[in-house]
């Protein structure tokens, strides 16, 4: 190949690839709105809060960002919004050893941010992040009715048992030694704040009496 041929291949090849990229970009832009919910004024305000506090300086979102703190793409899927709001405004009041500092968000900023995160959670991301396959394989082996309920309601999103699960709420590995009374657990599940002031845990009052009893029986076995 002569130098001139190589040069022309470079120039015209690059331009061609760029034109294809622009065509794909136009097509993609046309399809994005149907892959995400509508952007309300609140969602937009929340996105600005996200930028203002440089959240991406620690977190990832859509998997891109700083790898120092958890990914925020599906934040409102597993974690209750009430909890998220309390945490964002004062992380260490919820979890004393949280790495996140108090940023000084106002009440409105926190609400907008949650609206934005909720919008984000509903974007069609081609099923990313994928559900953890190994955990699912292990999940079939639940023994008691209470344990099944524990899985169905994704309590592990916030609570750990023997190292597996989230760290938003207290570790439940020894829940039965700390609170051996099933009635305490039933009351707590129905209305956490009545027993633990300022609790960030949502109330599970949609559970039937039998389900509450099963769950409580399971919790007191954790020792």
């Amino acid at each position: 190949m002569s130098n001139n041929a190589a040069k022309h291949l470079f120039i015209w090849g690059s331009l061609l690839c760029f034109v294809i990229l622009i065509v794909l970009t136009v097509d993609t832009m046309g399809k994005l709105d149907s892959r995400a919910p509508e952007i309300t004024a609140e969602v937009d305000a929340g996105k600005k809060v996200w930028h203002k506090y440089d959240c991406i300086g620690c977190h990832t979102i859509l998997g891109n960002g700083s790898y120092f703190a958890p990914d925020m793409t599906k934040a409102t899927v597993r974690k209750p919004k009430g909890y998220l709001k309390k945490f964002i405004m004062n992380p260490r009041a919820i979890r004393p050893n949280a790495a996140m500092p108090v940023l000084g968000l106002s009440e409105k900023e926190a609400n907008d941010l949650i609206a934005f995160l909720d919008w984000m959670s509903k974007v069609d991301t081609n099923n990313w992040p994928p559900p953890p396959i190994l955990a699912q394989a292990a999940a079939g082996k639940a023994a008691s009715a209470g344990q099944v309920l524990f899985q169905q309601h994704d309590c592990a999103a916030c609570h750990q048992i023997k190292g597996i699960g989230g760290v938003a709420g207290p570790d439940l590995t020894n829940a039965g030694s700390k609170q051996p009374d099933p009635d305490w657990h039933i009351a707590h599940l129905k209305n956490p704040e009545s027993l633990v002031p300022d609790s960030a845990m949502p109330a599970f009052n949609e559970l039937s009496d039998q389900e509450l009893r099963d769950l409580a029986e399971y919790l007191v076995t954790l020792k």
């Binding site: 892959r35 969602v43 996200w50 300086g57 979102i61 859509l62 190292g163």
Partner: protein, 456 residues
């Protein structure tokens, strides 16, 4: 050095290595914050912003310095305007200082990052392009002045050499690809779509053009290889960079809310991206092998070849392992990305600028011979430390992928418990890297100033 105005390169190189030192110092703070988040007055986000912005800015300043050296040499004439180049240098330093002060203020008082005229005053809150809009405009003006000066120089003698063409073509492409990062979008999906144009089309597009041009320049200058042969391979390399890299952009559009056809586009084109990088390695070796006679600037050649090798390993190999959607689905957003980012930037661009410094500074200072031992010392301290850093975070990324993505453990517990030792090792190797950078800074400031000791 043949032309007095080439001296301006020294200003840029000095600023570059000083910022490199800043980058690594704050990098060590960031590494410690993985273990103790409250360890420093500034939070992690501010430290990381400083770490990655210092990196990008010092590499850009290195590229500008290198270009101010190359253009007069290729055009065989003085720069069109030395005062303009000096003005552009000091204006850049001033703008960078203001932006850094802004980041620090915002780090201490987050509320100071107010919205003014629809944009944020101190920090845009977007990774790599955190610089606020007013600074974006200053950066664009600075780069335009720089490009204008270079083009006017070329027009003086109209020697349109291949190296100049690809170098300035790459720099123009670089300037243009800054623009997609300069407007606000309400949708986070569109935000990231355009953001990747800047980030990906820089490092896997325009910057690789600049690297290929400087590689050809250095091989010619060090070895005296025939320009025609070098130019032909350079065109093939950059042609392949663009052919694979432009549509390879799709590897960032798998999971951000964009249509699923990007899985095909990104997977196919980006998995070919290592090919041009491998060609560059072969190019460097072939030219070196074919050269008869003694090479006086051995450290320059050593760094040039090392740049080619680590460009391929860091960008090509560490990039391609997680570029297919089937793999990326599990590894996306884990420490594996960090490992790749570190080795790619180090191999492709840090070593490129360091090589250019060692190839050009002795001739700028008019030294026929100079003491090369510090150059080797700094190279080995930096390279061994970087390889260990990358091995450490690659392992952390594998543990994270397994426990968090496959097994469903919480991000926080994986980071705090299972990966703790990796953070400790990374910080230790970071100090090793710092030693290398300190040697480099001292050497760049003194290189070729006094006659070489005999036998070196």
């Amino acid at each position: 050095m043949k032309y007095q105005s080439q001296k301006i390169a020294l200003n840029f190189y000095t600023a570059a290595v000083v910022l490199f030192l800043v980058q690594v110092l704050v990098g060590i703070i960031a590494a410690l914050q993985f273990m103790w988040p409250d360890f420093f007055v500034l939070n992690f986000n501010t430290i990381r912003t400083l770490h990655i912005n210092a990196l990008v800015v010092w590499l850009l300043m290195g590229m500008m310095g290198a270009t101010y050296y190359v253009v007069p040499e290729e055009s065989e004439t003085e720069l069109w305007s030395l005062p303009l180049a000096q003005l552009q240098f000091w204006a850049t330093v001033l703008a960078v200082t203001l932006v850094v002060v802004g980041y620090i203020v915002m780090g201490i008082f987050p509320q100071a990052n107010m919205e003014i005229f629809g944009t944020l005053l101190l920090n845009e809150g977007r990774e790599y392009i955190e610089a606020p809009r007013w600074a974006d405009i200053l950066i664009v003006v600075s780069v335009l002045l720089f490009l204008f000066n270079c083009f006017m120089t070329i027009m003086k003698t109209k020697k349109f050499t291949a190296v100049q063409g690809v170098l300035l073509g790459g720099l123009t492409f670089l300037a243009l690809m800054y623009l997609p990062g300069m407007f606000y979008t309400k949708s986070m999906v569109k935000d990231q779509y355009w953001w990747w144009w800047v980030v990906h089309l820089w490092v896997e597009g325009s910057w690789e053009l600049i690297a290929a041009a400087l590689l050809a320049f250095m091989l010619h200058k060090l070895l005296g290889t025939d320009v025609k042969v070098l130019a032909k391979w350079m065109y093939i390399e950059v042609g392949l960079v663009m052919f694979t890299g432009i549509l390879g952009l799709g590897h960032h559009y798998y999971w951000i809310g964009t249509p699923a056809y990007w899985l095909w586009v990104g997977g196919i084109f980006s998995s070919l991206e290592p090919i041009p990088l491998l060609l560059m390695v072969w190019d460097a070796f072939r030219t070196t092998r074919e050269t008869r006679g003694v090479v006086s600037n051995r450290i320059g050649l050593y760094l040039t070849v090392s740049h080619a090798i680590f460009n391929f390993v860091g960008a090509g190999l560490w990039g391609v392992i997680h570029t297919l959607p089937q793999v990326n689905k599990w590894t996306h957003g884990t420490q594996l990305t960090t490992a790749h980012g570190h080795l790619a930037f180090y191999g492709a661009y840090v070593l490129l600028i360091v090589a250019m410094i060692y190839v050009t500074v002795p001739s700028i200072r008019g030294a026929k011979e100079f003491n090369q031992s510090k150059g080797y010392q700094s190279f080995w301290w930096m390279t061994i430390s970087m390889v260990f850093i990358v091995v450490t975070i690659t392992a952390a990324g594998m543990v994270q992928t397994y426990l968090e993505r496959l097994f469903g453990l919480d991000y926080v517990s994986v980071k705090a418990n299972y990966n703790l030792w990796f953070w400790i090792f990374r910080a230790i190797f970071g100090v090793g890297f710092l030693v290398g950078v300190l040697i480099l800074v001292v050497d760049v400031l003194t290189l070729g100033k006094k006659p070489a000791a005999s036998g070196s």
